[in-house]
């Protein structure tokens, strides 16, 4: 069980369940497929020497954001998307074309540059949290504080948006 094998399996699972998410027409099942996909991504993060991010990924994404999605889906009781004749054929054709073109461009640029850029520098002990925390609260302290203000703004904003209007 080399790290590479584990990484490839986890990444494959993430891709597989991402496909399930896009293809499945039931929104609740889509959310669940994405949970599995994000969980597999967390495994790849551990292998890329970022256990803190892996934990944050599971706690924030799988544990909070996607639960919120499920919560809203249940609250609104969103029905399954019905398969219907495409009412905007041009839109869909253009979308499909754009996706294929983008994938081709991405693959081409990966082949050209992907694996050759940048050179490795000093070793870092994998999985140690203290250096990350030190960096976060020294060099990036201002961004961290700005982020807390952003979260506060989001909190107030979502409260205002979702509040039921008082009956006149």
């Amino acid at each position: 069980m080399t790290p590479r094998l584990v990484f490839d399996v986890a990444a494959g699972l993430a891709i597989l369940f991402a496909c399930v998410m896009v293809v499945h027409r039931h929104p609740v099942k889509s959310v669940l497929a994405l949970v599995v996909s994000f969980f597999a991504l967390a495994v790849t993060y551990v292998l890329l020497a970022a256990p803190l991010i892996a934990a944050v990924q599971v706690i924030v994404y799988a544990g909070a954001i996607l639960v919120l999605f499920l919560f809203v889906l249940m609250l609104l009781n969103v029905p399954e998307e019905v398969r219907q004749t495409p009412d905007r054929p041009i839109h869909q054709a253009l979308s499909a074309g754009a996706i294929v073109a983008f994938a081709a461009a991405l693959l081409a640029s990966l082949r050209a540059y992907g694996a050759t850029r940048a050179a490795p520098s000093a070793e870092l002990p994998p999985g140690d949290l203290a250096p990350v925390a030190r960096l976060l609260f020294s060099d990036h302290f201002l961004s961290f504080e700005a982020l807390s203000i952003l979260l506060l703004a989001a909190l107030v904003g979502s409260f205002v948006l979702a509040r039921r209007e008082e009956s006149p």
Binding site: V28, K29, L32, V35, P51, L52, A54, A55, V56, V58, I59, A62, G63, A64, V67, L68, L70, F71, M74, L75, G127, D128, L129
Partner: protein
Amino acid sequence: MSASDVGMLALRVLAPVLVILIVLPMLQWVERRGAGLIQDRPGPNRVGPFGLLQPLADVVKFFMKEDLIPSHADRFLYVLAPGLATFAALTTFAVIPYGATLNIRGNPVPLVGADVSIGILYLFAVTSLSVYGIVLAGWSSNNKFSLIGGIRSSAQIISYELAMTTAAAGVILAAGSFRLTDVVAMQSGSWLSLPYRGWTVVPQLLGFVVFFVSAFAETNRLPFDLPEAEAELVAGYHTEYSAMKFAMFYMAEYINVVVASALMVTLYFGGWSFPGFHPTSLGGVVLSVLIFAVKTAFFVWIFMWVRWTLPRFRYDQLMRLGWKALLPLALLNLFWVAGLVLWNAL
């Protein structure tokens, strides 16, 4: 990694899980007899001496019952949900240290499933996944009582997780590490020295109270068992479940109680350590495991005691308590601990 290493690892991981699974039916007996004691009635006393074989009879009953799947349920998720609940509950135990370090032919073997650097974060990650079992059970049953139970549970668990994590952040701050073995090591020193190295509960009593109350909400136990409030929601999210699937939700609840108790012991009551006790020999290590078990059992009993003593909260009261009382208190505790750490008192 040799074969004996693999065997040792498997033993370290599986031993606590097996112990929990064996103790689980006993817990049910303790709860029912305890309920009898508190309510001044005998409780189950027909099967075996003191009703001791009652759990066994219940297990047989669960196996023999017909396993119903409602016709309008989403079959896949309906079957998946109880498994998910039990799985999330069982995997939490992997990072909790349950004994002192064992010495086998000069090799130190810490008695913990996996001593990872993100121990506490792992715990919160897995507990945050436990909500899926309940939410999916509620949704897939296609029953309004189940659905309301599932929605209540997701709101409740997200709300109380915040207070719980903030309270635990105080302990992390004091220990300077997410590693749970470090948290225990921090608490196994002297109670009189400065910096203080005794049980965390003394300097962080406020944090402990917040954590303790949140633990009840996270495990969906009375007085916070709104997701399955039988007076209004029949049985909440597991209304439609029967036989072994119901038993799995039942198991998940008890495992969560044990894990929450073990976590409280580890974070606030010194884990396996005891003042003036520094195990070196094999006997000492066994004693340390026993100390951990006794402390955990004490908190499990408190869970049951509270269940049969307090009435249920109303849902808006529950939310108000979580957001307006526990979260500010947890933040206050965090500031207090930060001050103590700053002035080298911790």
